[in-house]
Symmetry: C2
Subunit: 143 residues, 2 copies
DNA sequence: CAAATTCCTATTGACATGTTGGGATATATG
DNA sequence: CATATATCCCAACATGTCAATAGGAATTTG
């Protein structure tokens, strides 16, 4: 599985927030209820998003979370990479992994390189705002 | 990680066999040595390939494995799906998984559907033969 | 029979994933 | 100040998958 629940939930949280951002800070409890995800689990996901500057948290009564930028400033690929660590479809495409000694005449390497690019480019074409506006975005791969 | 070592190794085994198929049955030991993969581990991978009819095994002295069809008859996507079980990038795109009750107005679902298609189409464009002929195949995604 | 080789079953260690629990700390309100 | 509301922080756990290894049974050739 390329993308785990962490990545999936993160996107849903961000879209939810984008759609309810008028209300200022949105408490996690509300999001958890709307999205039907355990609040405790969301906590750990949201913590990462705060650490990376995607969300801003405010403690105490009336507190909650809000987006640090406008929804169209968050590229889906970046959010996912942030949550998953890597979006490489295979271990040998992982950035920072020891370079494979067989790479020079590996028959499959070009295939993986192409796949990696395809995934990266696809996910780089959408922002949180695109996810909000259902029906607008074209999710086909067209060059 | 979308594709594990099982899928990666399987492709390398098949390409290796395609490149040495003139010799009739190729013993696993040779492939393991050439590919620098543990023979014991390859055993479990090759077993699946035999069960699915991709390879034909022959026991005893002079035995080994050979491809059941010509290299251009094996689509990379099919081989990988066979080894990995699924190539779905997210759980909710997995075939046979319980349909998500939130699917109707899920903001992220179309994104995953598009990603699933992109991956499927890309991997559907290559065969084992394409992997053999290095430099020939174009690994870019062009429509 | 002996050597080579596939087949089969089981086990292990390491790691990731999903989830839950118990507080400590900060903020707004009355 | 007291209280309710939230975010923060650390830890634990159950489950499952992945990669690899071990030991031997069955089959074929010479």
């Amino acid at each position: 599985m390329l993308i785990s629940t962490r990545g999936r939930y993160a996107l849903r949280v961000l879209v939810d927030m984008a759609e309810h951002q008028s209300a200022g800070y949105v408490p996690l409890k509300e999001i958890a209820e709307r999205q039907e995800i355990s609040e405790k689990y969301l906590e750990s996901i949201v913590k990462s998003l705060v650490r990376e500057g995607v969300l801003i948290g405010l403690r105490g009564k009336g507190g909650g979370y809000r987006l640090s930028k406008a929804p169209d400033q968050f590229v889906v690929r970046d959010i996912l990479r942030l949550m998953e660590g890597t979006l490489a479809p295979v271990a040998c495409m992982e950035q920072g992994s020891a370079p494979c000694p067989r790479a020079v005449d590996c028959r499959t390497r070009p295939l993986w390189q192409g796949l990696d690019t395809v995934i990266d480019e696809y996910l780089g074409r959408f922002t949180i705002e695109d996810l909000m506006n259902k029906g607008d975005a074209a999710y086909d791969y067209v060059i």
